[in-house]
C-alpha cells in the first residue's frame, strides 16, 4: 500500500542542509495498522506529510497503492490525496465557518460527487462516528472528542485506501482519547490501512506494528532491549 525506499527529505538554506528524513525505508501492507513513534524532531510528521502527498521529497522512491508518485504534478497528487488518502490531525483541522455536514462534504466536493451521493456518504460516516444528530452544529459547538470524531468522519466519507493520523488523541483527555482510539480500531477491523504517528507508547501498543524513527531514519527496535517491553517490532517489516 505504502512503500518508501531510500527516501530522503532535505531542507536547504544558503548555509545549511538539514535532513528531515535520510535513507528512509518503510513498507506498509494493505490492511495494516502501523504506529510511527519517535522523539520530537525525529521526522515523524515529515514522513506523514510526504506519505500524504502534502510535501515533496528530495530523493528515493515512494510507491502509493502501486503508483510511483515522485513525478506526479499537483493535479495528480491532489486527485490521489482526495481519492485514496484520509487525514486525521491532532488539531482536528475542521473549518470553523462550516458546520459538521459542510466540513465532511469538502473532500467529496473536490471529487465532483453528486449532491445525493454526498449527502448519503456524509450521513453514513456521521452515523459511524455517532454524531448523526450533530450535522448542523459548528465545530465550536462540539467538544474536542466530538470534533475529532467529525474529522474522522470527514476522512472516512471518501472511502480512502489509507488513513493517515497525526497524534489523533494528542489534544484529547483520556476518556475521549480512548473512544477515538476504539473508533480507529473498529475502522481498521473493517479493513482500512492506518498509519498513525504518536508519542504515546500506550497508543502505539494498540497498533499491529510499530515503526520507530530517530534522526530521520527507521530504527529496528528489536535490536534495542529497552523497547522490548513496550512492543515487539514486526521483523518482517522492520
Amino acid at each position: 500500500m505504502l512503500k518508501m525506499t531510500h527516501l530522503s527529505k532535505v531542507y536547504r538554506t544558503e548555509v545549511v542542509e538539514t535532513y528531515a528524513l535520510r535513507d528512509f525505508n518503510i513498507d506498509v501492507k494493505e490492511g495494516e495498522f502501523v504506529a510511527v513513534t519517535g522523539p520530537s524532531g525525529s521526522g515523524k510528521t515529515t514522513f506523514l506529510t510526504i506519505a500524504g502527498l502534502l510535501e515533496t521529497f528530495s530523493g528515493g522512491e515512494y510507491h502509493l497503492d502501486g503508483i510511483e508518485v515522485s513525478n506526479l504534478n499537483d493535479n495528480a497528487r491532489s486527485k490521489i490525496r482526495n481519492e485514496k488518502i484520509g487525514f486525521i490531525f491532532q488539531a482536528f483541522n475542521l473549518i470553523p465557518d462550516l458546520n459538521v455536514f459542510d466540513n465532511i462534504e469538502v473532500p467529496l466536493r473536490y471529487r465532483g460527487m453528486k449532491a445525493a451521493e454526498r449527502k448519503q456518504r456524509i450521513m453514513d460516516s456521521l452515523e459511524r462516528v455517532g454524531l448523526a444528530s450533530r450535522a448542523k452544529h459548528y465545530p465550536a459547538e462540539l467538544s474536542g472528542g466530538q470534533q475529532q470524531r467529525v474529522a474522522i468522519a470527514r476522512a472516512l466519507a471518501g472511502s480512502p485506501r489509507l488513513l493517515l493520523a497525526d497524534e489523533p488523541t494528542g489534544n484529547l483527555d483520556t476518556q475521549m482519547a480512548r473512544s477515538v482510539l476504539e473508533l480507529l480500531e473498529d475502522i481498521h477491523r473493517e479493513g482500512a490501512t492506518i498509519v498513525m504517528v504518536t508519542h504515546d507508547p500506550e497508543l502505539a501498543a494498540r497498533a499491529q506494528r510499530n515503526v520507530h524513527i530517530i534522526d530521520g531514519q527507521v530504527v529496528d527496535l528489536s535490536e534495542d532491549p529497552r523497547f522490548h517491553t513496550v512492543h515487539a517490532v514486526d521483523e518482517a517489516h522492520g
Binding site: 510528521t45 510535501e55 491532489s78 486527485k79 483541522n93 465557518d97 473536490y110
Partner: protein, 436 residues
C-alpha cells in the same frame, strides 16, 4: 464547483463585513470616478457618423502660402473662389459647401413676432451625405441648388417651437425677410462632435434650427455668422469684394466611395493647386490635404483637454483603489492559510484554490460594480461641476455604460486578485498543518 465557490465566497464576505465593505467601496468609488469621466470622454471623442466616417472628406487648399499658413498646414476652411471651383469641378460622389447663418424668422408670414434662428447654408447633397434623418419631407435637390430655390429644412426642435408637433412641410416661413417653403423637417439630429463645422463651432453646440440652399444664401448676400480668417489686404467695401478676398469662411465636404476615388480626388486637388500656381495666384508649391472624419477630428483636437485630464486622473484614482484592494485581498486570503492547508490536504489542487479565491474576488467586484453604478448615475447627473455645460450635458448613462461599469469592476477586481489568489494557491499545506 462554480456554485460551491460562490457559496464559499458569500460566506467569506459575510465573515468580515467591515473588510468586505472597505473593498467594495474602494472598487465602487474607483470604477464610478472612471465611468463618470469616461461617459464624458466617449461623448466628445466618439465617431459622430460611424457608417460613413471613412467616406467623408474635407479638402484643404493652401491659399495663404508658407509665410502665412498654419505652420505648414493649409487653412481649416476655403475662400469663396477655391470653394466654388471645387463645387463646379464636381469630382466627388456627393459634395457640399456650408457656412453658418443667423436670421430672424417670421413663422406665419408677417403676422407673428420674429424669432432669432441659427442655421446653415448648404447644398442639397448635405442631407444624404451626412445621413440626416427626416421626420417629414426631405432635403432639396440639385435643381433647387441650381435655381437658388426658396426652400428650407427645419430642425425638429425648431419646427416644434414654430408649429407644434405637426408636419409643416409645404408651409411657408419668412427667413431674413424672404419667404421660404418648408420641404423637410429633420428628426433630432446633432452629431457630436459636430465634425462638419469645426471651423465655426467648438463641435459641441446645440442643434441647428434650419438649413437653406447655399446658392440662395449667396444670392441674398447673407453673411457668415461663423468664423472667418483673412490674410493680405482686406477690402470689405461690398459683397463682391468679400467674395473675391482672401478670407476663408466656407467649409467644403466631399463623399468618396473608394480608395481609388480618394486618390483621384487628392490628385485633382494637387492639380488644381498647381494650376493656381501656374496662373500666378499661388506663389508656392501645391499644399493640399484631404482628411476623413476621424483624421479631421484628430487634427482639430476636438476632445477637450479637461476631458482627457479628468479621465487620466480618475483612472489613476481607480488604480490606487485597486492596489488597496489587492492589499486587502492579500490580507484576507492569507489569514485563511490554515483553511487552505486543510482544503489542500482534502484534495483541492492549487488550481481549485486559485479558482475559489478568484471567484470570491469577482463577487467583491460585482458588489463594487453595483455600488459604482449608483455612484456613476449620481455622478453623471452632477458632472456639470467639472465640465463646461455644453460638454457636461453630453454625458449620459445608457445600457452600454451600465455593462461597461459592471465589466470593468469585475475584471479590474479579478486583476487585483491575481496575486493574492496566486499566493493563496501557493500555501504549503504541510507547513500549515504542522504549525497547527
Amino acid at each position: 464547483m462554480f456554485a460551491y465557490y460562490v457559496q464559499l465566497g458569500l460566506r467569506s464576505l459575510r465573515r468580515n463585513p467591515a473588510l468586505t465593505a472597505l473593498m467594495v467601496m474602494a472598487i465602487g468609488f474607483g470604477v464610478a470616478a472612471s465611468m463618470i469621466t469616461w461617459s464624458v470622454f466617449r461623448a466628445v471623442s466618439g465617431d459622430p457618423i460611424p457608417d460613413k466616417s471613412t467616406q467623408l472628406f474635407i479638402p484643404q487648399i493652401d491659399g495663404w502660402g508658407p509665410q502665412q499658413n498654419l505652420k505648414g498646414e493649409p487653412p481649416d476652411a476655403l475662400n469663396y473662389a477655391d470653394a466654388m471651383a471645387l463645387m463646379h469641378a464636381h469630382r466627388a460622389v456627393r459634395q457640399t459647401l456650408l457656412y453658418p447663418v443667423r436670421l430672424s424668422v417670421l413663422p406665419e408670414g408677417n403676422r407673428s413676432l420674429p424669432v432669432a434662428a441659427r442655421g446653415y447654408a448648404v447644398y442639397g447633397d448635405f442631407f444624404p451625405m451626412f445621413e440626416v434623418p427626416f421626420l417629414y419631407g426631405g432635403g432639396w435637390n440639385a435643381a433647387d441648388d441650381e435655381s437658388r430655390g426658396a426652400v428650407v429644412v427645419l430642425g425638429a426642435e425648431f419646427n416644434r417651437k414654430l408649429f407644434g408637433d405637426v408636419d409643416s412641410v409645404g408651409r411657408e416661413i419668412t427667413l431674413g425677410g424672404h419667404l421660404y417653403r418648408i420641404v423637410g423637417v429633420t428628426r433630432q439630429w446633432n452629431p457630436t462632435p459636430r465634425f462638419f463645422d469645426l471651423f465655426s463651432s467648438s463641435g459641441f453646440a446645440d442643434a441647428m434650427d434650419f438649413y437653406l440652399p447655399f446658392t440662395r444664401a449667396l444670392d441674398l448676400q447673407i453673411a457668415s455668422a461663423g468664423s472667418n480668417s483673412c490674410r493680405g489686404k482686406l477690402d470689405l467695401t461690398g459683397w463682391d469684394s468679400w467674395l473675391q478676398g482672401n478670407c476663408v469662411w466656407v467649409t467644403p465636404w466631399v463623399e468618396l466611395g473608394s480608395s481609388a476615388d480618394v486618390a483621384r480626388y487628392r490628385r485633382f486637388l494637387e492639380d488644381y493647386a498647381a494650376d493656381q500656381q501656374r496662373a500666378g495666384r499661388f506663389g508656392w508649391a501645391p499644399n493640399v490635404r484631404l482628411r476623413n472624419v476621424a483624421q479631421w477630428l484628430d487634427y482639430q483636437r476636438v476632445v477637450p483637454q479637461e476631458s482627457r485630464i479628468s479621465l487620466m486622473v480618475s483612472l489613476g484614482f481607480f488604480v490606487i483603489c485597486l492596489i488597496n484592494t489587492t492589499g486587502l485581498l492579500l490580507a484576507k486570503f492569507m489569514r485563511r492559510a490554515g483553511e487552505i492547508g486543510v482544503r489542500r490536504s482534502l484534495g483541492a489542487s492549487r488550481r481549485e484554490i486559485y479558482a475559489q479565491y478568484l471567484i470570491e474576488a469577482a463577487m467583491v467586484g460585482l458588489a463594487g460594480g453595483v455600488l459604482g453604478l449608483v455612484f456613476t448615475v449620481l455622478g453623471v447627473s452632477g458632472v456639470g461641476v467639472l465640465f463646461r455645460p455644453q460638454i457636461a450635458r453630453l454625458a449620459h448613462v445608457d445600457m452600454s455604460l451600465v455593462g461597461l461599469t459592471m465589466a470593468v469592476a469585475i475584471l479590474a477586481t479579478l486583476a487585483a486578485a491575481f496575486y493574492p489568489a496566486w499566493r493563496a494557491a501557493q500555501v504549503q499545506p504541510a507547513w500549515q498543518l504542522k504549525s497547527n
